[in-house]
Assembly symmetry: C2
DNA sequence: ATATTCTTTAGTGTGTACAATAATGGGCGC
DNA sequence: GCGCCCATTATTGTACACACTAAAGAATAT
């Protein structure tokens, strides 16, 4: 190993240093956000180490961080798996997001500069592009990053870090509960939201944000539990015939 | 090492398993909450390892978790120190807590059972006892745990984990900004709050909670920056004479 | 045949050695 | 004497080896 750090480029073009575990963390995080890693997937430390060319020590740090953000579940002596929230947990997560998003929206209206809003709008255009071009994975990730950008603009680091955890968990929820043929089209609502923020129309902005979350929650009520490891439930119809 | 786990006793008397790093984490966490560890204190991995009789591996995990909760700051290649929030950061933390505490209070009114409230009241009595007996450290910790208990009763794990991070950071803030001769007497307000919750008086409960936070924030406006490592500011009077 | 226990094995948990880094103090030229 | 550079040292970062755990399959007794 020649160096502990590597150079990476942010969207602003500035070079920033990333430690190895941050890189691994980011890769796994993105894979989950882009739904390339399905809920319930086992995350084997040794395999991941080979994939990323680092020792288990680094993988462990990354998994530990993901664990703390509740994006993966760390089961003692039994390894890590991508979290698969139940409907109950999903509702709690969406509830928490409601609270955070309301505060974030209000803060953004108070604090954001026109330049920041311009960049935000540009990002939503990228998001739109992805969906149009059929790159659903990147689209979902950018959709999440819209909300992270908002939290950044709110200028409140503790809220941002909480939002980070909530957004990634929401992505998992969408991965589990969303009907595959049902498209997101979140970018429409994102554009509307930016418009309301520019007009400093707090009520409209907050209500748009709440609608946004309603859409997620609606799906939770429609579908029952997700396709899961609960065999008894999966074959309840058969059991019903027999008993 | 004969075993990876150890037995510990919770306040409810139930035996639970704690991994080594959880124990170390809890010890450091409590030390910070009880203000036995001052903001800015360097946390040397090897020293801590000797103190707790474990290897740096375990210490590292504990520090990493504390780092994620923003209770300690992890500076790459330069080790961990107990966080010392600026007034600016302190205000952001208190703001975040306002949002969370409001939601928690409302949820507790809706969800909590009489039995839970009885236990909560009992805990505040302990807190009172500590202050009366002059054990300020334990009092401050129990004061924090009151708010954690509330978040637990709100029955929303994501909110609880965020609250955990916020409460410990608030404890740091109090450690830095509070005038030493000024007593807390938080237990009075805690009793009032429980009363309001029992009456299901949402408005009163929320407003009590907000007042509680006002008290912290007031101090931030009174004192300027805390006694800190910023030498330029500490000697600004001298500089003023010279220039 | 079934249940129980033992054995095996894959994989996680921890300690430790070594590498890389940043801070400190001494040496050197000016 | 003053400032710069290099060596030294203390401390963190990483890899790896071994210890421990738990799950799966084989062997045995009932």
């Amino acid at each position: 190993m020649t160096s502990q750090k590597a150079l990476s480029t942010t969207e602003s073009g500035r070079k920033v240093k990333l430690t190895q575990d941050e890189q691994v963390y980011a890769h796994i995080f993105d894979a989950i956000l882009e739904q390339r890693l399905a809920p319930g997937t086992k995350l084997n430390e040794e395999s991941l180490g080979e994939i990323f060319g680092v020792s288990r020590t680094i993988i462990r740090r990354a998994l530990s961080r993901l664990g703390h953000e509740q994006v993966v579940v760390l089961r003692p002596n039994r390894g890590a798996v991508v979290a698969s929230p139940t409907t109950e947990e999903a509702k709690q997560i969406v509830y928490a997001r409601r609270i955070v998003e309301k505060a974030v929206t209000e803060l953004v209206i108070e604090h954001s500069t026109p330049e920041q809003l311009r960049l935000l709008r540009k990002q939503v255009q990228e998001e739109q592009q992805c969906f149009v071009q059929g790159d659903k994975g990147a689209g979902i990730r950018l959709s999440g990053e819209f909300h992270l950008k908002m939290a950044e603009m709110a200028n409140n680091p503790p809220l941002l870090s909480f939002q980070r955890s909530l957004v990634s968990q929401c992505s998992l929820i969408i991965a589990q509960f969303e009907l595959s043929n049902q498209s997101h089209c979140s970018y429409d609502e994102h554009f509307e939201l930016i418009d309301a923020i520019e007009r400093k129309d707090k009520d409209k902005a907050v209500s748009l944000m709440m609608h946004h979350l309603d859409h997620i929650e609606d799906k939770l009520n429609l579908d029952e539990e997700p396709a899961s490891d609960n065999l008894r439930e999966v074959f309840s119809n058969v059991l019903g015939n027999k008993s």
